[in-house]
C-alpha cells in the first residue's frame, strides 16, 4: 500500500481505507479523498492531554478515500518501516505517515531528549502495518545486538524499533569545559536487540555545540 516514488515522494493506494499523515504533507492525489485533522492524535482525551503536556506537537490528519494520494515534506528522503506487532520510536518531526490501523502515542525519553533538541518526549507507533519516516539525506538502518551496542549522535538519530534500552552518554570532560570539546560530547547508547535509523546529517542540538 505504501510505495516510494523517486525517494522523496510517498504514494499510498487507498481503496476506501485510510492513512494518517503529517498535516499539510499532501502534494497531489487522484480519485476521491477526504482530509480530516485528527484532534489530539486520535487517541481520545487522554492522548490530547498527553500531547499538550509533553509538547510533542505532532499534528496529523487522517486521509480516507479511493485512489492514490501522494505525500512529501520539504524534499526530505522517505524510508518505509514495516511493523509486525512491535513498536517504533520516532521523533515527531520525522514521522510522515502511518497506516490508519497503527496506534500513535508519546513516551518519555528522559535526558537524551534535552540534548537531542527534540524535547523530553518522543512519538511511538505501534501495531501491524507500515510507517513512513523522513530523513535529511538517505538514512541507514543499523542493527543492534546484545553483543554489539551502538552509540548515536542525538542530532543524527531519527528512529528505532525493537527491544532496545537507550541511555544518555556524556563525554563531557575538562577539555570540554575549557572550550576544547570535540563536538561529540553527547551520544545515545542503544543496548539490546533492534534497529536504529540514522540520518547522514545532524540537526541543531544543544549537545552539538559542546
Amino acid at each position: 500500500m505504501f510505495r516510494l516514488q523517486g525517494g522523496k515522494t510517498l504514494a499510498v493506494d487507498l481503496t476506501g481505507d485510510g492513512v494518517k499523515a503529517k498535516n499539510g504533507s499532501m502534494v497531489a492525489y487522484d480519485g476521491r479523498m477526504a482530509f480530516k485533522k485528527m484532534s489530539g492524535g486520535g487517541e481520545g482525551i487522554r492522548g490530547m492531554v498527553t500531547r499538550r503536556l509533553t509538547g510533542e506537537q505532532m499534528t496529523m490528519m487522517e486521509v480516507t478515500g479511493q485512489g492514490t494520494c501522494y505525500f512529501a515534506d520539504r524534499a526530505s528522503e522517505i524510508n518505509l518501516v514495516t511493523l509486525r506487532g512491535d513498536k517504533l520510536y520516532v521523533e515527531a518531526s520525522n514521522l510522515l505517515a502511518t497506516d490508519a490501523g497503527l496506534r500513535t502515542g508519546t513516551t518519555f525519553t528522559g535526558l537524551r531528549g534535552g540534548a537531542g533538541g527534540n524535547g523530553l518526549f518522543t512519538t511511538t507507533v505501534e501495531g501491524t502495518g507500515q510507517a513512513a519516516i523522513m530523513s535529511d539525506g538517505t538514512a541507514v538502518v543499523l542493527r543492534v545486538t546484545t553483543r554489539y551496542p551502538l552509540s548515536v549522535d542525538p542530532g543524527a538519530y531519527i528512529a528505532h524499533q525493537g527491544n532496545l534500552q537507550q541511555h544518555f552518554q556524556s563525554g563531557v570532560n575538562f577539555r570540554t569545559l575549557m572550550g576544547e570539546g570535540s563536538g561529540e560530547s553527547f551520544q545515545i547508547r542503544f543496548e539490546g536487540e533492534g534497529l536504529v535509523y540514522v540520518q547522514p546529517s545532524e540537526r541543531n542540538t544543544l549537545g552539538g555545540d559542546v
Binding site: 516514488q5 523517486g6 525517494g7 522523496k8 515522494t9 498535516n23 499539510g24 504533507s25 499532501m26 502534494v27 497531489a28 492525489y29 487522484d30 480519485g31 479523498m33 477526504a34 482530509f35 480530516k36 485533522k37 484532534s39 499534528t59 490528519m61 501522494y70 512529501a72 515534506d73 520539504r74 524534499a75 526530505s76
Partner: protein
C-alpha cells in the same frame, strides 16, 4: 534533445549556430566554445505585445538569449532540474521555475484566472504564484526547476488529479485547471488538515509535482 542531464541539479545544453536558446538570467554555470549571452529585454519571444503582456502579468523573470556554438552548463540555486520534452504540445509553467528552453518553442503568457471563474482568480492569491503562466509550444525541450525531486502524474479523462498549489510545478497536454476547495467549518475555525485548497487538473496530459511544498 539539446539538454543532457549531468546530475539532478545540472543540465548541459548543446548550442549550435543558427539555433537560439533562452535561459533564466544568471543560470549559466560554465560553458565551452564560442557562446554569447545577451540579456533579453523583451523577456523572450513574441515581440512588443508579448513584452507588455509579461510586464502587466508580472511574469517578469529576466531571460537571456544564448547563441553560438558550444556547450553550456545550467543550474540555479541548487534546485532539482527536470527536463521535459515537447512533441507539438504545450507546456504550462510558472516563469520563475523556467530554467532554459529551446528557441524553437513558441512562448506566450496565459491568463490562468480565466479558468474557473472566481476560484481561478483566487488561485494566484492562494498559490502565491501569478495569475499568469508562461506557456511553451512546439517541438523541443524545456528544463524546469523544482525543490526536491519531481514526479510526473498522468491525467486521463475521468481520472482528474488534485495537486497542492505549492507543490505544483508545471503541466502539459489538453488540461483544464481549476481551484477546488475542501473548506469546511473546521478550516474556518483554524483546525484544518492543511489541505484546504487544491488545484484540480482534468482532461488528458500530465502534471509535474515536486516533493515539497516550498516555493523556489
Amino acid at each position: 534533445m539539446p539538454f543532457r542531464e549531468i546530475n539532478s541539479k545540472m543540465v548541459e545544453a548543446t548550442v549550435v549556430p543558427g539555433q537560439k536558446m533562452y535561459s533564466q538570467r544568471g543560470a549559466m554555470l560554465a560553458y565551452r566554445g564560442d557562446v554569447s549571452f545577451t540579456p533579453n529585454l523583451q523577456g523572450g519571444q513574441g515581440g512588443l505585445a508579448s513584452m507588455i503582456g509579461r510586464r502587466v502579468a508580472g511574469e517578469a523573470t529576466p531571460l537571456m538569449t544564448v547563441e553560438g556554438s558550444g556547450t553550456v552548463l545550467f543550474g540555479h540555486g541548487g534546485h532539482h532540474i527536470q527536463v521535459i520534452a515537447l512533441a507539438g504540445d504545450t507546456l504550462y509553467v510558472e516563469a520563475d521555475r523556467l530554467l532554459a528552453f529551446d528557441g524553437t518553442l513558441q512562448q506566450s503568457t496565459m491568463f490562468m484566472g480565466s479558468q474557473g471563474g472566481v476560484m481561478g482568480m483566487v488561485r494566484g492569491q492562494v498559490t502565491g504564484q501569478g495569475l499568469f503562466t508562461t506557456s511553451l509550444k512546439g517541438h523541443g525541450s524545456v528544463a524546469v526547476m523544482a525543490h526536491g525531486g519531481v514526479i510526473e502524474l498522468p491525467i486521463t479523462p475521468g481520472r482528474e488529479v488534485h495537486v497542492d498549489p505549492q507543490a505544483y510545478v508545471a503541466h502539459h497536454g489538453d488540461v483544464r485547471n481549476k481551484l477546488s476547495t475542501a473548506l469546511g467549518w473546521r478550516d474556518m475555525v483554524g483546525r484544518g488538515s492543511g489541505e484546504a485548497f487544491q488545484l484540480e487538473l482534468s482532461g488528458s496530459g500530465a502534471v509535474y509535482v515536486q516533493a515539497s511544498e516550498e516555493k523556489l
